[in-house]
Symmetry: C2
Subunit: 294 residues, 2 copies
């Protein structure tokens, strides 16, 4: 029997799934971080460990990894020569390294044309048209990631300080935020000095919540965030008949707020990024008769 | 003969001026950093050293510091109990600790009503009306300092990445900026990861320069920055007959761009922050007859 492997590796963990040559998943497993930019050999260790465990989960010999082809989706695979460096040291019979976005898109919309917006702590976009993919955004919240949780949360703190100074009208939301910081703007500033994207992003759901209730500052922030997301979607030049998937924690909050032009393209994602890697592996490495070519 | 001391202390250095009781400066000197928030005793050392050197510069005995009253302007003096802690350990005959903004305002507009906007790497505002001062802004570029060099520079990098992604139209300025980073958006992101406010602010003059030439992105950024500065000035509730001084490296660039409502209030500053501290000391500690009361 022939197998294929799908791998989804990121900064916190690495997931693997082993499947039959036709793509039916037999076993899944997880291992530690796979960050190819900061620790290439450590990433290799996590990848191999996750793959071996997936074989064990499927009731198969873990040593089969060396006879199995794999598609890997990894953050940072599009930067520098990390992709080539990793491919050179992987133990699989054949390896194809893609970006994390590429396997996420495949997982969400399948093999055909389509697009996705990842709207979580960060934001990023990818479109596939006529088999050709293009990614935009994802540059981090400091000078990018418009519409992300980190940006929405940071906007809230900024508007809270402007309200404190009387430069803009306060609202129930800004008053509540200031109270979180004991009504001391210095404490807001202190917080921002070392805040990570996720720390800012933690405030984002509250902004959407208050916007729903008509809070003026929340509505102002969300309107701008929605406009930023629509501007990015506009730059993707979407087809009228290809699916658009919103992924990430803020996806449901944005879905209802997009204009009709984009809303009518929205589809539920077919599966997650790992399922995308498996599907790509089945397509890339299995013959039409279902036999492997490794 | 009686003397007064003015002290202007900050995170990089501490300046002192010794003056006659009527405010005529006799000697000036400088010493190391005086950051009362991070190193109170080190700040005291720098303050005393600068004061002793100022006496030496004036051809007077440095030991006179213990018989001389002083007004000190120090960043952070409005936070927590730093002001009281410092006053308790200063060696002067009498000490009055003010914020750096307070002595800068006095230096710029004198003892009467007036206002200032500090527009440099950061931004901050202060107004004095009927003898009562109010400061706004100055919360740092992460969630404040609108219109500052750091914000203008950060905006430029953000717009450069949006242009790269095709989300907004590129301009000569965004193309030049991208070329600075070898046309690699990853390098822009890398730069922002560890950039200090001054690193972002370094790009601000270029933005104003290109705005002058009509560059669409530069004009967009500068228009927004001017609107932010005007919103802050609006919150100061300025009198029709009190002077407004713009201080900091971007002051001349903003002066010509403000609307008539604010432009007609603009005056050249009378002097710097140190001269403000001296003037406050002469007023606070010298009798109308010119005799000291220390």
């Amino acid at each position: 029997m022939d197998f294929v492997l799908g791998i989804d590796g990121g900064g916190t963990s690495c997931r693997a799934a082993v499947a039959r040559a036709d793509g039916v998943v037999l076993g899944r497993a997880k291992a530690g971080a796979a960050n190819i930019r900061t620790d290439l050999t450590g990433a290799r260790t996590s990848i191999v460990e996750a793959a071996r465990r997936a074989f064990a989960e499927a009731g198969q010999d873990p040593d089969l990894v060396s006879r199995t082809p794999a598609v890997l989706g990894l953050a940072g695979a599009n930067v520098g020569t990390y992709r080539q460096q990793l491919q050179a040291i992987l133990p699989f019979s054949r390896s194809r390294v893609e970006t994390d976005a590429e396997i996420a898109l495949e997982g969400a919309v399948g093999a055909g044309d389509g697009a996705m917006a990842i709207l979580g702590t960060g934001s990023a976009y990818m479109v596939r048209k006529g088999g050709k993919s293009r990614a935009i955004g994802g540059w981090g919240f400091q000078v990018g990631d418009q519409g992300s949780g980190a940006r929405v949360g940071r906007d809230l703190l900024e508007q809270t300080l402007l309200a404190y100074d009387g430069i803009r009208e306060a609202s129930p939301l800004t008053r509540e935020m200031l109270a979180v910081f004991r009504d001391r703007p210095e404490d807001v500033v202190e917080f921002t000095t070392n805040a990570k994207p996720g720390d800012f992003g933690g405030f984002a759901p509250k902004v959407f919540d208050y916007a729903q209730k008509g809070d003026a500052v929340a509505v102002w922030i969300v309107d701008r965030a929605v406009a930023d997301v629509e501007a990015a979607l506009g730059a993707l030049d979407l087809s009228d008949d290809a699916p658009l998937c919103l992924l990430g924690g803020l996806a449901p909050l944005y879905a209802s707020r997009l204009s009709q032009r984009f809303r009518r393209l929205l589809r539920e994602p077919l599966g997650d990024a790992l399922s995308g890697a498996v599907r790509m592996a089945a397509r890339a490495f299995a013959s039409p008769q279902g036999g492997g070519n490794s």
